[in-house]
Symmetry: C2
Subunit: 165 residues, 2 copies
């Protein structure tokens, strides 16, 4: 199977929640996502990079419409010491390339990152798998980002729109 | 489409590289992954959670067989100030649930995290998308993790093995 990018998708009806300084011990991630599940809050993305000194940081991307419910949970996690602090931002967007064997072809992800960099767009978060590389960026840059990433992988159809998801 | 988990996959021939304190400005992620691509290093997973105070942390999962090439690059990034420090660990493994509409059903990810927690398995990194939730854990816990996650989602076929990937 040849590695290739088959599409560019974007999502702007999202928020970003970062839980700072959660204890890096078994059961914390379960607690956070069980609480979100019980509150019926859909999550687009979960990202935790490696922790250090027994403190971890968990970022998740809820849908914008569930921001009130999410804010309530973050307050409760801070009060109960699940996280030292929770930071909620709603001016974010997600842009992704989708395809096959993406993760095992490092050049494809690099090309996406370079297209964003040339346009001066900072990458806030990254999450990748075999079939998708997703970047969280500032919401006001989504149109530029979609245009330049689309041009990078589909130069021949500059006019084609990205599929909003 | 109903949300469901269709499989559990695992991967132990991997390493974990964490770049600490990279500058949170456009072009850094592009530089790192262009260098990896040029060196022909395949990456299983890229994770960057939200940064703070203009410093970011990037974690990526190369294949174990390319550890020498990766170590060389990390040394160069440290020398050139791309990252303050790079931490390389090779006793890690990845376990994932795969299926459809996983990200929008928070309860499924929570069930995976809870199954690991009950077994006392700490989660080092998390990366999720619509079709996959992947956890990086300590390599010596992979067999236990595969057993308990498999039992959580496929209780009726306790005997079935997970698909190594
Ligand atoms: C931080 C969180 O992921 C923790 N390590 C856990 O296993 O739940
Ligand atoms: C840290 C890195 O992702 C940086 N923010 C970039 O855009 O390249």
């Amino acid at each position: 199977e040849r590695a290739e990018v088959v599409g560019v998708t974007s999502d702007s009806k999202i928020a970003k929640v970062t839980l700072l300084d959660v204890a890096d011990e078994p059961g914390i991630a379960a607690r956070v996502f069980e609480d979100l599940a019980r509150a019926g809050i859909n999550i687009r993305l979960i990202i935790q990079s490696a922790s250090s000194e027994h403190q971890a940081r968990i970022t998740f991307i809820p849908e914008l419409e569930s921001l009130d419910g999410t804010r309530e949970l973050v307050r409760r996690w801070e009060a109960e010491g699940v996280a030292r602090r929770g930071v909620i931002e709603s001016d974010v967007a997600k842009i992704s390339i989708v395809g096959s064997r993406l993760a095992s072809t490092p050049g494809l992800a690099a090309r996406m990152f370079a297209a964003l960099a040339r346009e001066g767009i900072n990458i806030d978060c990254i999450s990748s798998s075999e079939m998708k590389v997703a970047c969280v960026i500032s919401g006001d840059r989504l149109d530029d980002a979609t245009r330049v990433v689309h041009r990078e992988f589909f130069p021949e159809d500059e006019a084609a729109a990205a599929t909003p998801s």
